[in-house]
Amino acid sequence: MHELPVTEDILKVVLRHAEEARAGKVISVSLRIGELSDIIDEWLQRYFDYLSKGTLAEGATLRVERMPVIFRCEGCGESFRVKIREVKDIVCPACGEGKATFVSGREFFIKNIEVI
């Protein structure tokens, strides 16, 4: 729902790095976004295309790497992936323990850009 302000922030960072590198054009932008985020990739790209018109980043492709949601079992210490939008309960696949703590899956990060 908030892809527009997020895209503005992405474009700002991308243009700053592209200008510092004296690039002629940005080809792609690689992002790392956790599965806990509700950002929809397709809308990121649409807003990016709209906002980047007339800038060095016009026409660049966004590549989104989705980071899995990871929990750690409080029983046996095993870390395991949870498909957070599909499961009804979070249970350790190794020991069946019901208690687990959240480890990661909230990433919201720009990794790199490709420029010419």
Binding site: D9, A21, I27, G98, E114, I116
Partner: protein
């Protein structure tokens, strides 16, 4: 053809917002003002809980309210009727408050006359979870009619909050809502979260919430 170069960026997407939120937190800490960010769905009872809280704290804590709303001022008017200063932020369509908007509201407030600022965020369980407002505590309301499955649908919101107020418990008798299951789901996502059960309509559970908040504000001021 020109060579393609790879430039390492390695920056948080919301770095600018996070930086400003950190500055707001430091500034308010220096002034010993506790700022609370209250989030919920539309109709969850944010304004009702704020009104009850203002009444409960009126003799002990100097409070002001920042009201986020897409396009109206009715909530701010209710707060002002309680004799408490309010700043209305009309976001004009934005689905959340961020640090820049909170900063604008703070400029309109007399910060030397306050112990507590309550930020009423936009009614939405998705976007406000992603944006740091500069508050020291995040609190969310889940109202009983919304259902006990919300931690599964909006997990991020439940992971960023320090307290959960389960409101409208007067509906429990007629709702298909399992409090035990809800608590298990929430505590799994966030074992440190404090959970309160309230009804702003009957007043049940409100005093426990107010006592907790008062203690948090007083400990912060020490």
């Amino acid at each position: 053809m020109a060579d393609i170069r790879l430039i390492e960026v390695k920056e948080e997407i919301l770095a600018d917002n996070d930086k400003l939120a950190g500055e707001i937190r430091e500034r308010l800490r220096a002034k010993k003002i506790f700022m609370l960010n209250l989030m919920a769905s539309p109709g969850g009872g944010k304004t009702s809980l704020i009104i009850e809280t203002l009444r409960g704290l009126k003799d002990s804590v100097r409070t002001a309210v920042i009201e986020g709303d897409i396009d109206s001022i009715v909530d701010a008017e209710k707060v002002v009727q309680e004799g408490v200063p309010a700043v209305q932020l009309r976001t004009g369509g934005a689905c959340h408050l961020d640090a820049v908007m909170v900063e604008m509201a703070l400029r309109e407030m007399d910060l030397d006359a306050l112990d507590l600022i309550i930020v009423e965020n936009i009614g939405n369980l998705v976007c406000p979870a992603e944006f740091d407002t500069g508050a020291v505590r995040n609190v969310m309301i889940l109202s009983v009619p919304e259902g006990d499955d919300k931690p599964l649908k909006y997990p991020l919101m439940f992971t960023v909050c320090d307290a959960l107020v389960v409101n409208k418990i007067d509906y429990l008798a007629i709702a298909d809502f399992d409090m035990k299951v809800l608590k298990e789901r929430v505590l799994k996502l966030n074992p440190k979260i404090r959970i309160f059960e309230t009804s702003c309509r009957t007043g049940e559970g409100i005093s426990a919430w107010i006592e907790w908040l008062k203690d948090e504000v007083m400990n912060f001021k020490k």
